[in-house]
């Protein structure tokens, strides 16, 4: 453990300005998380231009804190008004809202807060141990192994949440194509610049990220009617009793493990973690029939899983440079923008960033516990902001944020075009998260492929001479086949389970 780096990280975070900025990020994260339609990913993308003038370590720490707080913020509105502010909170609403309806909103919020914080802190400990170890292993990787790992990361898009694996893959690969615009690093040749100097340096992530997340959603909101939600009033926050904690302790531990593991897998993210956390909590519960009717395990499971997934997703992002989720793909872009080199070299060159992020996320976990418990009712009122004011505000931030990046209107046009095309693509099932993953990973993929081809003198067979690369190629094939194999395996299993009682009766 690098003591100097730990001390530097602490020094950078524990200043009044940094603490204030991190606290501000936590507040923004909880608000954004609480608002349906706005996501942590969009918030981190919009926050990026604001952080340009800040110390890079503080900037990244702010975004990590926002990410953490956003995953919790969604549970407030999920419980109080059955309108999950963030996709991972959908599973929380299944039992949280029924609890609120029978007058136990405070208890539900207390369970959600304690589960989130417990899961978050436990997985942070795993993160701080695993990330340097993984980075140390990855330092041994040669270009062919890195290429295979990045390819595996992209192939996981086939299994990401969404309706269609081929669409996710096409979306991801189109993101990779956008990353090829500009000057080719090996030969210096212009690619897809169409004779214009604006595209010499390629298409920047930030305007594209803002466009595909913020503008596409704005266009969807253009036709949504204002909905009056039934609000739970007179909420008194109640921390869980010892009896409740005893009942949910194994659920929290189990969901933390699930969430951390899912978070570490490339591309999966907190939504998948939350759903799996809920399913496993139900499966292991002594009273599974109570799920869906207001069971505290049904709140504790997804909450512990989604927050631990957030920390887990930081592991591959920092250690390997492969994003663990859509939001960490944006964080990865932020790291690159601020001059860091994500991956194993990050641990070697700037190890203080790891400890700074760890501290920021730890503070965020404590911060949203306090904010959530003290201000849950106020945060639920955030949803009263009419969309006729909310979304024009988002557009203003999107325009100004895209412009502020390089101070050129070209980026604003990129943002707008990305948003318009993103909206059309989303209608046909092509999601923004796979596209962003492809955009962020494309450069890494091509760079390692090129380096390997140079070393191998164009003999691509040599890619398969590395056992580690072969392992990742095999995992790639498995993840590409999983949308086909998964349902087949499930149908075989259910057939064998259904036929077993008949055989026993014979």
């Amino acid at each position: 453990m690098n003591i100097d780096a730990i001390v530097t990280g602490i020094d950078l975070i524990f200043t009044p300005t940094s603490l204030m900025l991190i606290f501000l990020s936590v507040m923004i994260g909880v608000v954004i998380g609480a608002l349906p339609g706005l996501s942590s990913t969009m918030a981190v993308a919009l926050l990026l231009p604001f952080t340009l003038g800040l110390d890079p370590v503080v900037a990244i720490s702010m975004m990590a804190a926002l990410y953490c707080a956003g995953t919790f913020g969604g549970s407030i509105t999920a419980i109080l008004i059955n309108a999950p502010g963030a996709p991972p909170a959908v599973a929380t609403a299944l039992d949280g809202y029924p609890m609120a309806q029978r007058g136990e909103a405070g208890r539900a919020l207390g369970v959600a807060a304690v589960s989130s914080v417990s899961g978050g802190i436990m997985s942070l400990i795993i993160f701080i141990i695993a990330a340097p170890l993984l980075a140390a292993v990855a330092l041994q990787f040669r270009p062919q192994e890195y290429f295979a790992l990045t390819l595996f990361g992209l192939s996981m898009l086939a299994a990401i949440s969404g309706k269609s694996a081929p669409r996710n893959l096409v979306s991801g690969l189109m993101g990779v194509m956008v990353s090829t615009v500009g000057i080719h690093l090996v030969t210096g040749i212009e690619r897809y610049t169409w004779g214009t100097t604006w595209l010499y340096d390629g298409i920047d992530f930030v305007p594209v990220l803002i466009g595909v997340f913020a503008i596409s959603e704005l266009l969807k909101q253009a036709v949504k009617p204002e909905t009056t939600m039934e609000r739970i009033k007179n909420v008194a926050i109640k921390l869980p009793s010892f009896g409740d904690l005893n009942k949910i302790k194994w659920t929290i531990l189990r969901s933390t493990g699930i969430g951390t593991f899912i978070g570490i897998l490339p591309a999966e993210g907190t939504t998948v973690a939350a759903i799996m956390g809920y399913n496993e909590a139900k499966r292991w519960s002594k009273n599974p029939e109570e799920f869906g009717k207001g069971c505290i395990e049904g709140v504790a499971g997804p909450e512990a899983a989604n927050n631990s997934g957030a920390s887990g997703a930081m592991v591959p992002t920092l250690a390997l440079g492969i994003p663990g989720s859509g939001t960490t793909a944006v964080l990865l872009a932020a790291l690159i923008m601020h001059g860091f080199r994500p991956g194993p070299f990050l641990m070697r060159e700037t190890p203080e960033i790891l400890y700074a992020i760890f501290l920021a996320m730890l503070l965020a976990n404590v911060g949203f516990l306090v904010i959530g418990l003290a201000g849950a009712r106020i945060f639920s009122l955030i949803t009263l902001i009419p969309r006729t004011f909310l979304w024009p505000s988002v557009f203003c931030f999107a325009v100004v944020g895209s412009y502020a990046y390089n101070q050129q209107m070209f980026d604003v046009w990129v943002m707008l075009i990305a948003g318009l095309l993103g909206f059309l693509a989303m209608r046909h099932g092509f999601g923004p998260a796979p596209f962003v993953m492809g955009l962020v990973l494309g450069d890494l993929l091509e760079k390692n492929w090129s380096q390997a081809m140079i070393i191998f003198d164009s003999n691509w067979v040599l890619f398969f001479h590395s056992p580690i690369a072969n392992l990742f190629f095999a995992l790639t094939a498995l993840s590409l086949a999983s949308p086909l194999i998964g349902p087949w395996v499930r149908s075989k299993l259910s057939k064998s389970l259904n036929s077993a009682p008949q055989r026993m009766g014979d």
Partner: protein, 180 residues
């Protein structure tokens, strides 16, 4: 994206949008567009400048984009066959696109393009004022007691934050610099 199962019912009727053929027509168009796009981008690679092999070190600038485009094209060929398979599992791939795009979305898109288009002439601050007033009004907001303070205060706060605090130079336009 929702995976709402369709009501299959016992009446023997096929769900709306179900086609008896293996291919799904909207997805044929989608795949077609992707293939046309891939073809155009692939053709464009023939316009890239050539580099001697010794300088290129076995990695021509055309190689990687072509590989990616071929992969995209192959995957795109699977898209038209997906609908029926997903429908059997209760996933309706048409749920987000069954209804035509409402006029409000076209109007909003046109408005967004117009707002960005006039920004260089009008200036960033004036353009933000215009957006803050125009979009809510277009979406039916008529509560003037909220709208007027919002139009005055919000863009001013955003411009102040970026111009004064973050030191960003915005386009002055017809009204000139206000925050410097």
């Amino acid at each position: 994206m929702s995976n709402q199962p369709l009501g299959r019912g016992g009446d023997g009727e096929e769900p709306a949008g179900f086609s008896p053929s293996t291919l799904h027509r909207p997805d044929i168009f989608v795949a077609g567009i992707i293939l046309v796009l891939c073809s155009l981008l692939f053709a464009r690679t023939f316009w890239f400048d050539l580099v001697p092999d010794s300088l290129a070190q076995n990695v021509q600038p055309t190689d990687f984009p072509r590989l990616v485009l071929i992969t995209v094209a192959v995957i795109a060929l699977l898209i038209p066959f997906e609908y029926k398979r997903k429908l059997r599992r209760g996933i309706d791939l048409d749920s987000d696109r069954r209804d035509p795009i409402p006029m409000a979305v076209y109007a909003t898109s046109f408005a967004l393009v117009a707002f960005v288009g006039i920004t260089p002439w009008l200036g960033t601050f004036a353009s933000l004022l215009f957006i803050s007033a125009g979009l809510p009004l277009m979406w039916g907001e008529r509560r003037w007691k909220f709208l007027v303070p919002y139009v005055v205060l919000f863009p001013t706060a955003v411009m102040w934050l970026f111009s004064v605090v973050l030191q960003v130079n915005f386009l002055p336009g017809v009204i000139g610099h206000i925050f410097r």
